[in-house]
């Protein structure tokens, strides 16, 4: 099915199952421990041996010698995979450094060997006995020092052109009555999802099966085939349950490749999980940024010039953090420029983490807007309303937004939060030992759509079954896919079985960039339309007039049960939703407004979030319950970015030092107060037949800036160097 004209009224609009809050249908299996995760597939791959990854002890250089003798003779050892015996390996399109290093070493903790043994403990112990001598090379590890050497990167798959320019930015900025010109920095971030990267691999002849934890099944099948030099048809990837990803599991990583190589070498299934302390340096992270924002406005805060420059670093061949993305679309201004520059850094590779681009771009832009509001004496909410724009401000009026309810979010959010109680002047409110302040920020995240397919059937009991390689990374995919099928076929949700995450199922859009929910359910919609047509034909009813409800197909005064029509064979249909150019003709994005109240300890500068809330417009909200969970989880991650999360770079050794969960701190329950989420009614008929948009990443976008602005309002201290920790607040206070 092709989606190339705006959606009219369709079965989804009935809203009997879609749009109603539902508990997640996979919840009972997860909380009772019966949902098997990748490392636990004893059922599917019995007798698996255990692999342990040996990571590089240097950031850059070459292996001079590897001595495996002590490890090979250690108890229980079955084999050791290294570059010397792995055979010729290709490199995937999505990983920058080889997943198995050697003789060249590209980053700290790059996998250099996999030690395989009969038990986990034996593998881990033997791995310690692998002796590697290195010839280290100097590397570049300091983004601030390399800023001047950064170059314009080639255009990537996401994020558009590195640079954009409209009008005369320099001239307009120079002429502006009010000018903001500030630098902001954000550190490297780790995804820190709960389940580590993990894979169980088994070969049957030349056919490989991977039970793994992965967000993008089809991508990763392709990457594995490319890396091993085998046919895609010989790779099966199974990932029905994923314990969090946040972008860490978009790609094939070392656990999967080395499990496959290990299983080949020892001739039995092998499973590999990364230890927690290996994750920050072995895998990907969100790259640090330096950002410069310049805004020129009239004295009422109406923007005439807006510029956003971003510097980030990556390994050679890597890509930039596209943190200026939102600045291209969020606010008005006839004169505009954005630029991304990329420096070479020999740190572990940077890549996507929840809302790549916007998550850190808004940490800068929305603080700059707060600074502009203060400079103009305009309320921050009002400032954003004044600068709203209903079309792509780079392309002009010929490219309107498909739907844009930023102003509605700002107004409703402010009302609900009690924004009118905020004192514009900082450091005015005291509650016991706390200085109290309020801050806000706009939320913005692009809406991406992707081709997505599904197979759907009805069996002899009238039960509906859906199969797609879509993943559920804790997001609620199972439930919204089940709801979609139930809505389309007129059955209750508990009559739908959803099967996900298997490369034998039709290819979906996968989970990433908040494109999954809308795209994958649209794919199910397409398949369900095909199934409805088949069932109608079987019943002898005209497909466009048949009604599906209560497990029946009806026409005029007649009806048949789906069970009877399905018969013993069942009836199945498969289709996918493909997209035309609606996302070219219309800018598509999701919007919101974050509000936050913080307390800052009068003595110690400890920051506590007291209240947090927001209003969000993201098209049809398919399952308000899981959508809310997505938003509050993302808001929590925004608090982490604002207050505490930072991978600390040791620029001598070239690695992230705080590589465990004790030292890389993320928010805990005690950090997060009850969070209020309001969804603004919106149907986006140009996004998909679901009229939905992504919502999984919107909540992180701007959340941290609202915290930063609240800290400023509480204390009068403006910090632009994230995270906003006690040491920085104290130093700024003392200065």
């Amino acid at each position: 099915m092709k989606f190339d004209t705006p959606a009219g009224t369709n079965p989804i609009d009935q809203g009997r199952v879609i749009g109603i809050p539902h508990d997640r249908i996979d919840g009972p299996a997860k909380v009772t421990g019966t949902a098997p995760y990748a490392y636990e597939r004893h059922d599917a791959a019995p007798n698996a041996a255990y692999g342990w990854i040996v990571g590089s002890a240097i950031a850059r250089g070459r292996i001079a010698a590897m001595d495996l003798r002590a490890a090979e003779s250690a108890p229980g050892v079955l084999g050791i995979v290294t570059h010397a015996n792995a055979g010729k390996l290709g490199k995937g399109n999505f990983n920058t450094a080889p997943l198995l290093g050697g003789p060249q070493v590209d980053h700290y903790d790059q996998a250099l060997a996999l030690v395989i043994a009969d038990t986990f403990e034996n593998a881990r112990d033997a791995a310690r006995r692998v002796r590697i001598d290195y010839m280290p090379q100097d590397g570049k590890f300091d983004l601030a020092a390399e800023r001047g050497n950064a170059v314009k990167p080639p255009e990537g798959d996401f994020g558009g052109a590195p640079d954009t320019a409209v009008g005369d930015f320099d001239g307009a900025f120079a002429r502006a009555a009010v000018r903001i010109d500030q630098h902001y920095t954000t550190p490297d971030h780790s995804h820190a999802m709960m389940e580590p990267h993990a894979t169980t691999a088994a070969w049957n002849g030349d056919r490989l099966t991977l039970w793994t934890s992965n967000q993008m099944i089809a991508w990763s099948v392709g990457e594995m085939a490319r890396t091993l030099g085998i046919a895609k048809a010989n790779v099966r990837l199974v990932s029905p349950y994923v314990g969090g990803g946040f972008g860490a599991k978009l790609f094939l990583r070392a656990d999967a490749l080395l499990a496959a190589l290990g299983a080949k070498q020892v001739g039995r299934p092998v499973k590999v999980a990364l230890a927690r302390h290996q994750i920050p340096n072995n895998t990907t992270h969100r790259p640090a940024t330096i950002q410069r924002i310049r805004i020129g406005a009239d004295k009422d805060g109406v923007i005439d010039a807006i510029g956003h420059e971003v510097w980030s670093g990556d390994l050679p061949g890597g890509g930039p953090e596209t943190a200026a993305q939102q600045t291209r679309l969020l606010y008005r201004g006839a004169n505009r420029m954005t630029a991304h520059r990329l420096a070479t850094l020999h740190l572990p590779e940077g890549n996507a983490m929840r809302a790549p681009g916007e998550a850190v771009g808004l940490l800068a832009l929305e603080v700059a807007m707060d600074e502009l509001a203060e400079a103009c004496g305009v309320d921050p909410v009002e400032l954003r309303i004044r600068n709203d724009v209903q079309y792509d401000p780079e392309a002009g009026t010929q490219r309107p937004f498909s739907s844009r309810k930023l102003v509605e979010c700002l107004r409703a959010g402010a009302e609900r939060f009690g924004w009118d109680r905020r004192k514009a002047k900082p450091a005015q409110v005291r509650d016991g030992r706390w200085l109290v302040g309020m801050g806000m920020a706009s939320a913005f995240r692009n809406n991406l759509v992707g081709k997505s397919g599904a197979r759907i059937g009805v069996d002899a009991t009238g039960k509906v079954i859906v199969e797609t390689d879509m993943t559920d990374i804790g997001t609620g995919s199972y439930t919204i896919i089940g709801q979609t099928a139930a809505e389309m076929l007129g059955v209750p949700l508990d009559r739908v079985t959803v099967r996900l995450g298997d490369s034998r199922f039709p290819e979906s859009a996968g989970s990433g960039g908040q494109w999954g929910a809308n795209s994958a359910t649209a794919g199910v919609y397409a398949a369900a339309m095909a199934l409805r047509a088949k069932l109608a034909e079987k019943a002898g009813y005209p497909a466009d007039q048949a009604q599906f409800e209560d497990g029946l197909i009806r026409h005029d005064n007649e009806s048949r049960t789906l069970a009877a029509l399905a018969g013993r064979e069942g009836v199945w249909a498969q289709d996918s939703m493909d997209y035309g150019d609606l996302d070219k003709r219309y800018a598509q994005a999701t919007f919101g407004a974050h509000f936050c109240e913080v307390g800052v300890d009068i003595d110690t500068a400890e920051v506590r979030i007291r209240r947090m809330g927001g209003a969000f417009a993201a098209g049809r909200i398919l399952n308000p319950k899981s959508a809310r969970s997505q938003v509050i989880g993302a808001m929590t991650m925004g608090v982490g970015a604002a207050l505490m999360e930072s991978l600390e770079v040791d620029t001598r050794f070239g690695f992230f030092v705080n590589h465990d969960m004790a030292e890389y701190v993320v928010p805990v329950h005690a950090d997060i107060p009850p969070q209020d989420v309001l969804f603004i009614d919106e149907l986006d008929d140009k996004s998909s037949p679901m009229k939905a948009k992504g919502v999984g990443e919107l909540g992180i976008c701007g959340a941290g800036a609202a915290v930063a602005n609240a800290i400023y309002n509480a204390t009068g201290i403006r910090l632009r160097d994230y995270p906003l920790t006690i040491d920085k607040l104290l130093k700024a206070q003392a200065a």
Partner: protein
């Protein structure tokens, strides 16, 4: 983890004897720190002596009105003990400021005193660390040292002692009761229990090989207003950047001990003597000889601010 042998000790004497006779033996109690370190091969014991079943899990009143806390009393139980909450509230509060509920259910009184630093260079066996591998150098001194110590440090080591409980124990002038392999008992004032790193940061306490902690004894209650104030990068479940344990007497005297800033739980007499002159004076006295890096120099200011907060809390409660 290296393969190891395991025995469940049947008496304190037998545990001490076994520990002295087997090279590379370690006691294991709650295991909340040791097991993590073994997995990373920072600790590589050849033999574990389980001391969980020796009857060391009681809290008893001493003849002179103090409290003897068995070495195996869990942090949760100690924090919840009615006598501790009433007479040694600073200890209860310090315990509850540490770790998580699950960890406190396992972690023991003796083990807490022996927990090892959270220095990230100590935790990565590919990095230089004089504490982990004597003579290899200190990765932290010129590296990331934001969380590390500024008092009692040396050129060889700037690791911090991470305990909250031990800070309160230090404040209360506790004594660490031990038995050695010959069955000899001794009582070590907590001030003397932990060693400063000097040139031998690998030696962290005065315990001799085989010597086992049997209990920690608190002297008679000192009354007063008890405060434990811990400042960290998030609201819970993190190690202290700075913590202050304080007891304010009715007569205007006070005593202070500090966590997060010392190579060991930190207390100096001069700080107590400055109590009447307020937070700034106490901080100045406590920080005498402080040695900072550009990552952790904020801790000096934070000590003063945390003390100010402690004084404020005292006033609120008085």
């Amino acid at each position: 983890m290296k393969a190891f042998t395991y025995e469940r000790a049947t008496s304190v004497e037998a545990a001490a004897r076994a520990a002295a006779s087997v090279q590379g033996a370690r006691f294991i109690a709650g295991g909340t720190n040791l097991l993590d370190l073994m997995k990373l091969q920072i600790e590589t014991p050849t033999h574990l002596i389980d001391v969980n079943h020796l009857g060391l899990d009681r809290i008893e009143e001493t003849p002179d009105g103090g409290l003897r806390i068995g070495a195996l009393v869990r942090n949760t139980d100690l924090a919840a003990d009615r006598r501790v909450r009433r007479d040694y509230a600073v200890l209860s509060r310090a315990l509850l400021a540490g770790a998580s509920g699950q960890l406190r259910n396992k972690a023991t009184t003796g083990g807490n005193l022996l927990q090892r630093t959270r220095c990230p260079y100590f935790y990565d066996t590919r990095m230089p660390c004089n504490k982990r591998q004597p003579g290899s150098g200190c990765g932290a001194l010129q590296g990331m040292s934001r969380s590390l110590a500024i008092l009692g440090v040396s050129d060889a080591c700037i690791a911090q002692h991470p305990s909250d409980m031990a800070v309160a124990m230090r404040l209360l002038d506790s004594a660490v009761d031990t038995m050695d392999a010959n069955g000899a008992r001794r009582s070590i004032p907590i001030a003397d229990f932990h060693l400063l790193p000097g040139d031998t940061p690998q030696q962290e306490t005065v315990l001799k090989p085989g010597e086992i902690i049997t209990s920690v004894t608190l002297p008679r209650p000192i009354g007063g207003t008890h405060v434990y104030r811990k400042v960290r990068d998030r609201a819970s479940y993190a190690f202290a950047l700075v913590s202050v344990a304080a007891v304010f007497g009715k007569d205007g005297t006070a005593r202070f001990a500090f966590g997060g800033i010392g190579a060991k739980p930190w207390r100096v007499e001069a700080a107590d003597a400055a109590a009447g002159r307020g937070a700034k004076a106490v901080a100045e006295a406590a920080l005498a000889g402080a040695r900072t890096t550009h990552h952790n120099d904020f801790k000096k200011m934070l000590v003063e601010r945390t003390l100010a907060s402690v004084y404020r809390q005292r006033e609120a409660r008085a």
